[in-house]
Symmetry: C2
Subunit: 305 residues, 2 copies
């Protein structure tokens, strides 16, 4: 692999940015990598780990950078962009890694100077751990990164960013922001909210002790707790900024749940059996697709690091 950008700047140094730094180094994709995080502690940790050249201001980190990637929570992107906008090099590419795209584009776009190519992106990867120490070079291997170019984006800039993500191990896809936010509401945002809720219910129930929940959690609940352990700030921002799609999917979810609840209450065995047979077939489709994409464990090993 050869160098794709002479200088890459990462703004925010959590799990996603630190994994990007390690993945870029692994394949030699960047001449230099600079980074900035608002918290002194995070900057010090990143220095200690030798993740990248850690700067004391965001403006210093992005100066002369050919690619700048915003790796801060979705709710902070607008403010960060307002600060670094004037410091961006003409001709540079600006990207981000937010889990929501419409809201990020609305917040960031107004501050993008003329001559800078804005290519929003979303790598579908993560673990329940956060911060610079949580990063690892393999996080993006065989995972998807969705690029969400805005209108009139320079195709050369899009292709170059796609090359970078492929170099970091990811498969690259492209869609518009509205569709991205709906797809993610279904595959990620609503499932996370549901997992959070179930874990909260279990904890509240005074007749069942936490230690019982913990001991017997192998049977279904464990996967929920893993999901529900993700970064609270990131998820707060996801739900606040992908509100419409999440509420739509939640509405459908409760509608279906009530139908199943009614089937239980009225002891409608055939309805339950049909439903469960259908969902089993969907899972089989996912397994087959997983084999097709050469990622039979869907990144589980990386995800449970």
């Amino acid at each position: 692999m050869s160098v794709i950008y002479d200088k890459v700047a990462l703004i925010g140094l959590g799990l996603i940015a630190s994994s990007m730094a390690l993945a870029m180094k692994r394949a030699g994709l960047a001449g230099r990598i600079t980074g900035y995080a608002r918290s002194v502690e995070t900057r010090e940790t990143a220095r200690e780990l030798d993740l990248c050249e850690v700067c004391e201001t965001a403006a210093e980190a992005v100066a002369e950078a050919d690619l700048v990637v915003l790796c801060v929570p979705v709710g902070a992107m607008g403010a960060v962009m307002e600060e670094i906008g004037p410091a961006l090099k003409p001709g540079a590419t600006l990207s981000d890694v937010g889990s929501v795209k419409k809201a990020v584009i609305e917040a960031v776009q107004p501050h993008v100077p003329a001559g800078v190519h804005f290519v929003p992106a979303h790598p579908l990867a993560g673990t329940e751990h956060s911060g610079p120490r949580a990063g690892f070079a393999e996080l993006y291997d065989n995972r998807w990164c969705i690029l969400v170019p805005v209108e009139d984006t320079d195709q050369g800039a899009v292709d170059r960013l796609a090359r970078l993500w492929r170099g970091m191990g990811a498969n690259v896809d492209q869609m518009d922001a509205e569709h991205h936010d709906l797809v993610l509401a279904v595959t990620s945002h609503t499932p996370h909210l549901i997992a959070y809720t179930m874990v909260g219910v279990a904890d509240d129930l005074s007749r069942v002790t936490d230690s019982e929940v913990i001991k017997y959690s192998a049977a279904g609940f464990r996967d929920f707790t893993r999901i529900a352990a993700s970064d609270p700030t990131m998820w707060r921002d996801v739900f606040l900024t992908n509100k419409d799609a999440t509420l739509e999917i939640l509405g459908r979810f409760t509608e279906e749940l009530f139908a199943l609840q009614r089937a239980i209450r009225t002891a409608d065995g055939p309805a339950l059996h049909d439903y469960f047979t259908r969902t089993r077939a969907i899972r089989r489709g996912i397994i087959e697709a997983g084999q097709d994409t050469d990622a039979p464990d869907f990144g589980r090993k990386a995800g449970t690091k």
Copy 2:
């Protein structure tokens, strides 16, 4: 390990029974193992795999057995028991592996002959696969098996069955049927129902294609599909027979979900952040408990076989 029962009979030869046969053989816990399944195809597969001595009737399988284990779906236990009751040897132990205990006891108890010791049990183990070919000897290693003795059960019979389960690799615990059913409604039954629902919603949504759901399912949804792929008959029976506890937990779940939905709709960031911080702490407790019990992956490797 030495022989605990001279003859063990397994009624039903699916994932749970075939794994028991293999685990008993691994440790030499049974002098002989006989088995019966209603379907000819299952009996033939079991013979082909040389799982146990496969009989053509349930009565033949249980004759002279020191331990008989009912490994059929919860809804079939009563009928099976009515059939084999008269063939049980005086002094034998009768057990089962049903995921629900109150309903099984109500269905089975009336048919237990005097002099036979009924010790209901529930091993908390399984995978999304079913049938005799799905079994493997390690399924119970480091998993919990909950014994639910009925009133006046012979303590010697309970201790002996506990020794068998420990010999098959499990940790053994004991509780009453009502509490068991509530604990499982929280840790297993309701999470399964929710996972089934979410997978159904995703499949229904015409604006998002199945192939998109499949490709991008790494981010949260994948764990739901794994749960939702379990045996439909088993789960239908679970919900029909653990109706009260499941409906109670579902009621609490929807109450909490509506509170979170309202927080999203009203953009109450602090409420969302607090909730997600609390659930993260619960997960940490589970991980710590997992390390304590020497099962840091909670059987995930076995579970994803």
